[in-house]
Amino acid sequence: MSVPRYWRETKYRYRLIGQMCAQCGNAGFPRSGVCSACGSVDLEEVKLAETGHVVTWTVVRNPPAGYMEYAPYLVALVELDDGVRVLSQLVDIEPIKVKTGMRVEAAFRRVKVDGGSGIIEYGYKFRPLIE
């Protein structure tokens, strides 16, 4: 991700802010500029729930460039408590212990690091709920 693009997205990635359709009320993440349900472009920002559950998941062993040092890592489809589905890395758990339906919460992590001199990209990942 370029530095300007990372900067434009920080607020949304740091705080899990998505889009809400002003026409039909459908919420989504990440923001795309178009409602996935009715196609409206009349959208508002909405703070999404930070807790949810795992719908499905997989282990990434051959990651794309820039993510090599984290491999193997988990990627999960998380359904937030407000119903919005988010694709995210799942951290602080071994693959063998992941279960469909398990409770998770948003964590703040490094997502990508541009070498030794570039920008450090931060954002959300999910982890087992700490109660």
Binding site: V91, F108, I130
Partner: protein, 346 residues
């Protein structure tokens, strides 16, 4: 320095990464005679001081139940900033939703950078410059492989939000005291990966002189003595030092036990005293007095005298206790530790 106008802590939050390296594992690789602690916390590949600071800041905001837009300052005290130039405080402020009307900076003073930020925040809210101010102590400390510090240098932090009455405080700050001298007990030069320490300097002329000095000065000013405090927290670079400081000042083991997490977490540097205080607030009752004294090499101590308020009974249950993070762990061996801490050249 006595505070004015009922300044206190309106929220606090703690975070400790879940990886643990047993001290016996360091000893297995490097030899040595004893182990100063049981185990220490280690960051995951995608964690650093900023991620730790954001985690504990979020817990603090949620526990305080305040609008983050009313936080007028976010200070991160650390000696392990991810960027040499680019403030950590701006990332934290953005992540908790405190931007743009907020002061943000990183504080540096070895292990007392976090409590140094406490002092500033107490001043900012006392003066009425802002409603709330946040101070964080967080570190991902490193020791040179095989060095005595490698057994203990660990990762974690805690965040505190200060406010003034009529804000609902969990603990009121009665007074604070800083005790600082130029002491060459520990340092790290620019571009060096690991710190150096003057072995014989680390005890009496450094830790004990400043910790005892700050504690005595503060208790003298407030007219209190050890018996007036239910609990005490002293900076925890190892297990021996805080116990000896407590004994010297007349505190019992019972007084320091709730906050003494170093055997299972290690020395979280700037996070050490803030985490020990958080663990103590987790068990304290209204009316209890707490003395908290940090220590930072270079050198200095900040001492705080707190009285726990009624709100603690409800609010301490709102977010995870420090013990929850102490118990949440996954053991790693020295080779994984070396990978996580960037000690392997690819």
């Amino acid at each position: 320095m006595k505070t004015v106008g009922g300044v206190g802590i309106v929220g606090y939050g703690a975070y400790i990464p879940m990886n643990r390296l047993r001290a016996s594992e360091v000893k297995r690789v490097w030899g040595g005679s004893g182990t100063p602690i049981e185990e220490k916390s280690v960051i995951a590949m995608d964690e650093d001081t900023i991620t730790i600071a954001v985690e504990c800041a979020r817990y603090a905001v949620r526990r305080a139940g305040i609008d983050p837009q009313e936080i007028g300052a976010v200070y991160v005290g650390t000696e392990s900033k991810p960027y040499a130039v680019k403030p950590s405080g701006t990332v934290v402020a953005e992540a908790i939703g405190a931007t743009p009307h907020v002061m943000a900076a990183d504080y540096e003073f070895a292990c007392k950078a976090g409590t140094e930020a406490f002092q500033t925040c107490i001043g900012l809210v006392s003066s009425g410059m802002m409603r709330y101010a946040m101070a964080i102590g967080a570190d991902t400390a490193q020791g040179r492989p095989g060095d005595a510090l490698e057994y203990t240098a660990s990762c974690g932090g805690a965040a505190y939000i200060f406010g003034k009455k009529p804000a609902r405080t969990l603990a009121e700050v009665e007074g604070s005291c800083s005790y600082v001298t130029d002491t060459p007990d520990f340092w790290r030069r620019e571009h060096e990966m690991y710190p150096r320490h003057g072995n014989r300097f680390t005890g009496e002329p450094a830790y004990f002189k400043h910790v005892i000095g700050a504690a005595k000065e503060l208790m003298g000013e407030l007219g209190t003595e050890a018996g007036d405090y239910k609990y005490a927290v002293f900076h925890q670079p190892n297990v021996k030092f805080p116990i000896k400081a407590a004994q010297t000042l007349g505190f019992s083991m019972d007084a320091i036990k709730p906050g003494l997490i170093v055997p299972f977490v290690g020395n979280t540097y700037s996070g050490s005293t803030p985490l020990g205080l958080a663990a103590t607030l987790d068990v304290a009752d209204p009316g209890d007095r707490i003395l908290a004294v940090s220590y930072g090499s270079g050198a200095g101590s900040d001492a705080f005298s707190l009285t726990v308020q009624d709100a603690i009974t409800n609010d301490r249950r709102l977010e995870p206790a420090v013990s929850r993070f102490v118990d949440r762990k996954r053991y790693i061996d020295y080779s994984v530790y070396s990978k996580l801490r960037g000690k392997i050249i690819k």
